[in-house]
């Protein structure tokens, strides 16, 4: 049994790394400007004569890939944490309205600050997103004390999401023309236009949050047996729950601040990883969810920018097409398994 598990773990991670390599390379090559392997190789090694080509690889495709990888992973881990918190597989930052709360707060920040001529910095956007995420989260927690049924809680989350989206749409309608283009692209979710400085910021924020999450593995494992047993084993329940909420909010806020709300990654990917590794062990699933989410977003972004080129589809549309069926399958399957 132990041997079988070890083999499954190695094979699982091998598969993830192969997929990661495939989509990284594919993303590097795909685009409206066709580049040969030798050209790309030269550019990556610091050579290359054509300045435009260099610009495309180094300043457009690479930062975009990096952000898809980091933010996709962050979203997936955020979903894993929420699922742990609510003891439910349908929880995720998007369905619980947390992403939408962050989106609303960021739109307000953008409009208020941009109209006063302040340049929107990464720190400002992340802080706004974090505040929005925490407000939505607080609302969900309040509701969860009254509503025991998880399906109802999810419905409430979706409603909160709609309210926030509606308010965001109002704001977009009344915003100055110059803001609208920006705001509209962003509020549908997109990885386009990422700069290296954005990538550095998100790498720091998500990196620290991920390391902290990884060190929560032990209490997460105990918490999987339920609160009563976790407390008896010595888990400081209140502090632990607060840490779960904070970390999942920071992660999804960071994603929303940079790429807008992205749907279904947070629910679908942790579930796919559980199915792949056949375990809920946090020491495995936290890195696996990160990798899986990153790969999934790389793949979806590839489709978003190449399928109908030169037009770009919003990333959320693509992730929904692939993510929603997974969620539906999971819900049907779970019900069957219980009876």
């Amino acid at each position: 049994m132990e041997q079988k598990r070890r083999t499954r773990t190695w094979c699982g991670f091998l598969l993830l790394f192969v997929l990661l390599a495939v989509f990284l390379i594919w993303n590097l090559f795909a685009g409206s400007v066709q580049l040969s392997a030798s050209q790309i190789g030269q550019i990556l090694l610091g050579g290359g004569d054509d300045l435009t080509q260099k610009q495309i690889i180094m300043q457009i495709r690479l930062p975009r890939m990096a952000s898809a990888l980091i933010l996709g992973g962050a979203l997936s881990v955020s979903g894993y944490l929420l699922q742990t918190f609510f003891h439910n597989p349908i929880a995720g930052p998007f369905v619980l309205g947390i992403s939408s709360g962050a989106k609303l707060a960021v739109s307000i920040a953008m409009i208020v600050f941009l109209s006063r001529g302040v340049r929107s910095s990464s720190a400002l956007l992340i802080s706004a997103a974090f505040i929005g995420a925490m407000l939505s989260m607080g609302l969900i927690l309040l509701i969860s004390q009254r509503v025991n049924q998880m399906s109802l809680l999810v419905v409430c989350g979706v409603m909160i999401g709609y309210i926030c989206s509606a308010l965001t749409d109002f704001l977009v309608t009344f915003a100055d023309d110059s803001n609208i283009v920006n705001l509209h692209n962003w509020s549908n979710g997109s990885f386009s236009g990422m700069k290296w400085e954005n990538v550095t910021t998100m790498a720091w924020v998500c990196g620290i949050a991920l390391i902290l999450t990884f060190f929560l593995s032990k209490p997460i494992r105990a918490y999987q047996l339920g609160e009563v047993y976790a407390r008896n084993m010595g888990v400081p329940i209140k502090a632990f729950r607060a840490a779960l909420i904070l970390l999942s909010s920071v992660l999804s806020a960071c994603v929303t601040a940079f790429a807008g709300p992205i749907s279904f990654v947070g629910i679908a990917l942790p579930h796919l990883m559980k199915a792949l590794f056949k375990t809920a062990e946090p020491l495995l699933l936290i890195p696996a969810s990160f990798l899986g989410g990153g790969i999934f977003c790389l793949a979806c972004d590839l489709i978003a920018r190449t399928a109908f080129a030169p037009a770009e589809v919003s990333i959320s549309s693509v992730t929904a097409v692939f993510g929603a069926p997974v969620v539906i399958y999971m819900m049907v399957h779970r019900k069957a398994g219980r009876e």
Binding site: Y229, M233, V235, A280
Partner: protein
């Protein structure tokens, strides 16, 4: 007489409202102490307070001579394990995974099991005769097997005290006997102190060293099974107006 677990003038209840006051109980190592009483009489409330799931409203719980409050979480976890009625539905965990979660207070920061821990897990599994289904998913085994696994989980924590809240409810008679005989053996082999609540009077009578009768607003009586299980007293405790308790067979009978 000093016990491993003692309570002094303990008041228990919910939301600051005392339900039962002045609970003084004492559980020694190698002994089984059982709470009996009608439904809703406060057995679970007492147990939940003792294990620290509910705050004590007044009074003190002593664990091995020191107050519970003065001990660290980890220290308590190494001394006291539980088996409560809360439903355990872990995702994708085998029975062995559930048992090994009991090593929590002993493992390092990331909770990785060392060889020594794994040995204790196997030992605990064999103590409850669960090696045969240790690799089965926890969600797929029978209720009786689940309770045995949860008991093994508690043992794996290497406690000196185990607190169990109605561990035999929902089990059929064979599993009830099986679980309690395993428990009785554990007490002998590991010199454990056991505090539990039971619905089944016949079982309580067979395994307990001391029986505590909880009667809704007070501890009505504490004594040996011989003292407690008399037809008059049980009829009074359970408000049997038209039935009677048969001393010889430890059964309740309905008198038409």
């Amino acid at each position: 007489m000093s016990g491993y677990l003692e309570t002094k003038n303990l008041s228990v209840g919910y939301h600051g409202k005392p339900l039962i006051e002045d609970v003084s109980l004492c559980v020694q190592r190698g002994k089984i102490v059982t709470l009996i009483g009608p439904n809703g009489s406060g057995k679970s409330t007492i147990l939940k307070t003792v294990i620290g799931q509910l705050p004590e409203l007044s009074g003190t719980v002593y664990l091995d001579g020191e107050t519970m409050r003065s001990r660290s979480r980890n220290d308590i976890a190494r001394r006291m394990a539980i088996l409560m009625t809360a439903r355990v539905e872990p995702e994708l965990m085998t029975c062995r995974d559930v048992v090994s979660s009991g090593r929590y207070p002993y493992t390092g920061r990331l909770g990785v099991l060392r060889d020594e821990d794994k040995k204790i897990v196997e030992q605990s599994l064999s103590q409850v005769d669960a090696l045969a289904f240790a690799d089965a998913p926890f969600s797929a085994v029978s209720d009786g097997q689940r309770q045995r696994i949860l008991l093994a989980r508690a043992l794996c924590q290497q406690p000196q005290l185990i607190v169990l809240d109605e561990p035999t409810s929902f089990l059929d008679i064979r599993y009830k006997l099986e679980l309690l005989s395993v428990l009785k053996r554990m007490v002998r082999e590991n010199d454990l102190a056991v505090l539990l609540s039971l619905h089944e009077l016949d079982l309580a009578r067979r395994i307990s060293d001391t029986v505590i009768c909880v009667a809704g607003d007070r501890i009505d009586r504490i004594g040996t099974p011989e003292e407690i299980f008399t037809s008059d007293y049980i009829a009074q405790l359970y408000h049997l107006e038209r039935g009677k308790y048969d001393e010889c067979f430890s059964t309740l009978e309905f008198v038409p």
